[in-house]
């Protein structure tokens, strides 16, 4: 029964590029403390915590510039019905405390996560996990799940059974010894409140030699990070506008690495309330906003206007032939009239952002008066999940990697407190969303995902306004970033893919 569909041979993938990088300390920054770095206590606000976990913990698979690769696993097989995944684990892996890593730990991890769910991945599709010997582990899923390799095996950190098996309240287990994994770096010190983290190299790391003796994280407000990098206080700084690229083009050693455009600025429509219960009204907004101009203005560089199918044009799942809605204020006016709204009063819910000002202007020219209700992010999330809004503006990352996010965002049900458009109950879309996740045939899945984008573009439960890259100003003498298609794990545009932090053995 275990006829192999494909077998991925283990290849030791290492960061490309010539010349050795110096060892020493890599100093990184983030805008806030992200909590104690275990899968249970780490902050779920923003991707900073998840990425820091990936230094300590490993996953069965990982991503390099070519896509998913084996990591703790040496290879994997999937049964023809797509419900059974068998991983052969690498030999000789040890936990940070020296105990050997085994298939039991993988089984334990997933069983433990059933009791104490992991915030960053929905593992409910995993029916059972069985360790066979010390190096083989088999997952049985409740149904075929195409994103399994990337979104579950590539995201869920494997934790040591010997540390966690007796822990009843894992959120509260916060001593340095608890945060032991198999990863390239181990937690040496964490200062809560200050948000200072110190990671030390794990010299025996199985995938390669850690490049740095230590990695430090400090808290620096986002707006001051570039200055700190320029002053040599940190080795990499994040910016979300293009203008840092020309600013550092002539710098002797500071370079700018651009992430994929994995952050989306989009409008969420409430389909359960007028005026956006009418498709024409939503389409009018799409025609009424000059997305190209908005993108260029807001990113201060070559902007990437939003695709009505949500998936960004640089994504390999992008469907180019969806309905496009080129900027056309006249058409917008006509549609508003068709929808039966003479001069609709529309309230836009948004956290403070200059985007709304520009949009307000554009939509006024298209015959729509927008009043803006500015609230903080939590308030917006609450109002959206309660359906107390007409149209809301949101920015978030994760628009990349496995296209299952189209299901999670628009057909995810309860899990989806934040992203959904209330009242979007398109029968075909919901059916396709489930179908693509179950689809074991890559070509068939692609066709479904294309069709889903077509429906999104036609129905517009949301309107992608533009995509944002993150620009990392970094010291090229110390750090050589790795391009990761679709971002680290499930769509994270951060610079610290652990492949960039280890070298050949």
């Amino acid at each position: 029964m275990l006829a192999a569909i494909f077998l991925v041979a283990a290849t030791c993938v290492l960061p490309a590029g010539a010349g050795p990088l110096p060892s020493g300390v890599l100093r990184l920054a983030w805008w806030t403390d992200v909590g104690f770095p275990t899968p249970f206590a780490v902050s779920s606000l923003g991707p900073g915590g998840l990425v820091r976990l990936s230094l300590i913990y490993d996953t069965l698979t990982w991503k390099d510039r070519s896509g998913a690769i084996p990591w703790l696993a040496e290879s994997w097989r999937v049964s023809p019905d797509g419900r059974r995944y068998t991983f052969a684990l690498r030999p000789g892996i040890r936990w940070h405390d020296g105990r050997p890593f085994s298939a039991r730990d993988v089984q334990f991890s997933f069983e433990y996560y059933r009791e104490h769910p992991f915030v960053w991945a929905d593992t409910s599709v995993v029916q059972s996990v069985r360790a066979e010997g010390s190096r083989t582990v088999t997952f049985t899923l409740t149904e075929p799940f195409a994103p399994f390799i990337e979104d579950i095996a590539g995201v869920v950190p494997i934790i040591p059974e010997h540390i966690w098996k007796d822990v009843r309240e894992p959120r509260k287990a916060q001593s340095v010894e608890t945060a032991a994994g198999t990863g390239p770096y181990l937690l040496a010190d964490y200062r809560p409140g200050a948000g200072d983290y110190r990671f030390r190299a794990n010299p025996g790391y199985f995938r390669g030699r850690p490049l740095y003796d230590e990695i430090h994280y400090a808290v620096i407000p986002t707006e001051r990070q570039v200055l700190a990098a320029q002053n040599g206080q940190i080795d990499a700084a994040m910016a979300d506008t293009y203008d840092v690229v020309p600013a550092f083009s002539a710098h002797p050693h500071l370079r700018v690495w651009q992430s994929e455009p994995l952050s989306t600025a989009r409008l969420i429509f409430n389909l359960a309330r007028p005026p956006f219960d009418r498709r024409e009204a939503r389409q009018a907004v799409a025609y009424g906003i000059n997305r190209t101009q908005l993108a260029t203005l807001m990113t201060r560089g070559p902007g990437i206007p939003g695709s009505p199918g949500v998936v960004s044009p640089v994504d390999r799942w992008y469907a180019p032939r969806v309905r496009r809605y080129p900027y056309d204020p006249v058409q917008a006016r006509n549609l508003v009239a068709t929808a039966g709204y003479s001069s609709p009063q529309i309230e836009l819910l948004s956290s403070p952002s200059p985007v709304v000002i520009v949009m307000q202007d554009m939509l006024r020219r298209a015959g729509m008066e927008i009043s803006v209700r500015t609230v903080d992010a939590r308030t917006r999330a609450a109002l959206v999940s309660e359906g107390k809004f007409q149209m809301a503006l949101t920015f978030h990352i994760g628009a990349g990697g496995d296209p299952d996010y189209l299901r999670r965002w628009f057909a995810g049900g309860e899990a989806n407190l934040f992203g959904q458009s209330p009242g979007f109950n398109h029968t075909e879309f919901l059916r396709l969303a489930t179908e693509q996740a179950r689809s074991v045939d890559a070509a068939a899945r692609r066709a479904i995902v294309v069709r889903m984008q077509e429906i999104l573009a036609e129905e517009l439960p949301t309107l992608a306004l533009y995509y944002r890259r993150f620009y990392w100003v970094h010291d090229s003498r110390k750090l050589r970033p790795v391009d990761t298609p679709g971002g680290i794990m499930n769509g994270i545009p951060l610079v610290e893919n652990k492949l960039a932090l280890i070298g050949p053995r």
């Binding site: 707006e223 570039v226 203008d243 201060r300 403070p352 952002s353 202007d361």
Partner: protein, 288 residues
């Protein structure tokens, strides 16, 4: 409010500070009132590429949206002054009313005093942040939040003054003549409390102008309303602010505007204080 003013022998020197303060403030008020005439570009209009340095027709360059920063500076004065005035006026009125009531109300003085104490006990800046998050950033919510935390302290001061006034003989005399309580308050109490209220008004206005900008800097400014705080917030959010000379033409003008406004208010405060309390000033001079 500084010592050397009181030391001059002539009235002119004595009032020079106040006069310059008043003139300074007047200039800012006039600029704010005539903003659309002084700055031709509407503040919401995109007039050039984002973050353009000063040049022809754009004396202070443009912000992230390519809007005229000079226009924002002038129009922003409206928000700052309006918030300052609203907060100062409402807070002073509230302090006066509650303070007088807690001293003279026939019933419930203890209760009023307890409420005052409660407001004094709640940490003020955290409460403002909470209120603005609760109400959503905006001119009215910021004004309301600032009112909530600023009235209580002076209510106690007013109360103390009223209590000491009520004990004075002429108040008893006015009462004995059969004047109503309202009349007592108007004719006997108010003149005694007025100097305190003037000081309170100016101090609160100055404080409110600064707080409005501070809240803006924390990201609690309404992005739809041009204000000095918003300009500063956007400037400090620009990653290259201090890597280029953008700070000079983007962040410095609103900062200077805030400073000039507060200096103007302080200078006026000093003189009103002297004018209403000549005895204190005379004492001050005699002290040397």
């Amino acid at each position: 409010m500084s010592g050397w003013v009181t030391l001059g022998p002539g009235a002119w020197q004595r009032h020079a500070t106040a006069a310059s303060g008043a003139i300074l403030l007047l200039v800012i008020v006039v600029l704010a009132a005539t903003a659309p005439l002084v700055a031709h570009n509407p503040p919401g209009l995109t007039v050039g590429p984002p973050v353009t340095p000063p040049g022809r027709g754009l004396p202070l360059g443009t912000n992230v949206l390519g809007q005229d920063l000079y226009s924002h500076l002038v129009h922003g004065a409206r928000t700052s002054l309006l918030v300052g005035f609203l907060v100062a006026a409402s807070s002073t009125a509230m302090a006066a009313a509650v303070g007088t009531a807690s001293a003279m109300a026939p019933r419930g003085r203890e209760l009023i005093l307890a409420v005052v104490d409660l407001f004094l006990a709640i940490p003020s800046v955290p409460l403002v942040v909470l209120l603005v998050v609760f109400l959503g950033p905006g001119l009215w919510s910021v004004s309301l939040a600032l009112l909530v935390i600023s009235w209580a302290a002076y209510a106690r001061v007013v109360r103390a003054q009223v209590l000491s006034t009520v004990r004075k003989e002429y108040v008893s005399a006015v009462r004995a003549l059969g004047a109503s309580e309202a009349r007592v308050v108007r004719t006997a109490i108010l003149p005694e409390v007025a100097p305190i209220l003037f000081t309170k008004f100016l101090l609160t206005m100055r404080w409110a102008v600064v707080m409005e900008a501070g809240l803006g800097l924390l990201g609690l400014a309404d992005p739809g309303r041009v204000s000095w705080g918003l300009t500063l917030h956007q400037a400090f959010g620009y990653p290259l602010l201090f890597l280029t000379n953008a700070w000079l033409w983007w962040a410095t003008p609103p900062a200077l505007a805030i400073v000039l406004t507060t200096v103007g208010l302080m200078a006026m405060g000093r003189d009103i204080d002297l004018w209403l309390n000549p005895a204190a000033a005379d004492q001050g001079r005699a002290g040397r």
